[in-house]
């Protein structure tokens, strides 16, 4: 499978699941304080647990190599908090704004344009020095001494900082979280609502999915993403922001110069993933008859664009967005992704409070 086909395929599956599950981590994080609703958050935790076990099994089988992102606390804090603030303004997380383009949501497109512009400028433009300063100044490695040679530097994870086996910690942690979750769920058990029986095909293609179906589906897509992207020599699970920046690099004709020879940037696996997400969502929305061009007015378009700018700068600075860090990095036990993820949550809660909770109190 070429990187194009495999990126598009995984993207389409991801987009389909996002649309059917109405999966958005902006809502998942924000709704806990705003609406006291944890339905989407449960989908997120489920997706993380499935990926945590799935990645560990693939790594044990030698099919992938666990590759957590770097740990640079300063960049994670600044970038993550700005990203969290941005996604509340944009009305969606990085994957949320990407898939909603396929549903015809114009404000999502404007947010994605903002994210792409700021993300590209932070990656290769005039904002890059700020990112480099924050990353290089605060990076921490786990070093293993080697006799008679340079010590080996690795990005820290919950396993390697204690010198433990990755699969053992990942599967053990997933089991512990699952047990705690089941205990809490049994304590707070409510009478299940009576649901009308619907045929399976209707349940898959026209109704919104139940939270645990969405969580498992997204976790499995992420495991597939890690495997197929490894075959395409990318070796990381799902990610959003760098894919958008990749599309921008092609549009501006970006070239890298090595030994005096200029090579034009070509779309890679992660860039095709973005195109696939939008296509997959479009198909899902068409089947469910949920596609509609939704025009929000200029003021909202401005707000989501600014939100997108903050998200783009934040994600590239922090080394990951909500997908790269929370969905893909946390299951690999990366310390950088855990800190980056917490910073995103703090930023989102702060902005949700300022934008929605505080005005109601006055």
């Amino acid at each position: 499978m070429t990187p194009m086909i495999s990126g598009l395929l995984v993207g389409a599956l991801f987009g389909f699941a996002l649309q059917r599950g109405r999966f958005c981590m902006n809502s998942a994080i924000r709704d806990t304080i705003l609406l006291k609703d944890t339905t989407l958050l449960k989908s997120v935790v489920m997706a993380i647990l499935v990926a945590m076990v799935g990645f560990a099994l693939l790594a044990m089988g030698g099919l992938i190599k666990i590759s957590p992102s770097g740990f640079f606390w300063g960049a994670h804090l600044v970038g993550g908090i700005l990203f969290g603030i941005g996604m509340v303004l944009a009305g969606g997380c990085a994957s949320g704004i990407t898939y909603r383009i396929g549903e015809g949501v114009v404000s999502a497109l404007s947010a994605a344009i903002g994210l792409t512009i700021a993300g590209t400028l932070t990656m290769i433009g005039f904002l890059a020095p700020i990112k480099d300063y924050l990353q290089k100044g605060t990076q921490i490695w786990v070093t293993t001494p080697v006799e008679g040679a340079e010590p080996i530097k690795a990005n820290p994870t919950l396993a390697n900082i204690f010198g433990l086996d990755h699969a053992l910690v990942a599967i053990g942690l997933a089991v512990i979280i699952a047990i705690i979750w089941i205990v809490i769920a049994l304590k707070n058990r409510e009478e299940p609502e009576k649901k009308e029986k619907v045929p399976l095909l209707t349940a898959i293609f026209s109704k919104g999915w139940v939270w645990w179906v969405t969580g498992i589906a997204i976790g499995l897509v992420n495991v597939l993403a890690f495997y197929l992207s490894t075959l395409a020599k990318r070796s990381y699970p799902l990610g959003i922001t760098s894919g958008w920046a990749g599309i921008a690099k092609v549009l501006i004709g970006f070239e890298t110069v090595t030994d005096g020879v200029a090579t034009a940037y070509k779309l890679g696996w992660g860039d095709y993933l973005i195109i696939g997400i939008i296509l997959g969502t479009f198909i899902a929305a068409l089947i469910a008859r949920e596609f509609k061009i939704r025009w929000p007015g200029w003021k909202t378009l401005g707000q989501t664009f600014v939100g997108g700018l903050l998200m783009g700068f934040g994600a590239i600075t922090s080394g990951g967005c909500n997908v790269g860090h929370i969905l893909s990095g946390v299951p690999q036990l990366g310390i950088g992704s855990i800190v980056g993820g917490i910073a995103i949550i703090l930023g989102a809660w702060f902005m949700a409070y300022m934008l929605f909770v505080r005005p109601q109190k006055t």
Binding site: R22, S27, R30, L35, E290, F291, W295, P296, G297, F356
Partner: protein
């Protein structure tokens, strides 16, 4: 069929305004008054009914008009 006292159109609004606007409007209504909400955001079509009960409001009906366009009737609890 209940006749709406008030109509709220949140079509095209981004997340979470459909939910927030519905809840704020319901708060200002008298007990027993009916709010009609017109919305086209799939997540809110599922999320609003889920969260109404916590505020004491009662969902009367959700009707699919065409595609993503829905009409929701809600009886206010009257917190005023």
């Amino acid at each position: 069929m209940a006749t709406p006292t008030k109509t709220l159109n949140v079509c095209g609004k981004i997340c979470p305004y459909p939910d927030m606007d519905t809840m704020t409007t319901l708060k200002k209504m008298q007990k027993g008054e009916v709010l009609e909400v017109l919305l086209d955001y799939p997540l809110s079509v599922e999320r609003i009914p889920r969260n109404l009960k916590k505020q004491g409001h009662k969902l009367i009906s959700v009707e699919q008009l065409s595609g993503p366009n829905h009409r929701m009737l809600i009886e206010a609890h009257g917190l005023k």
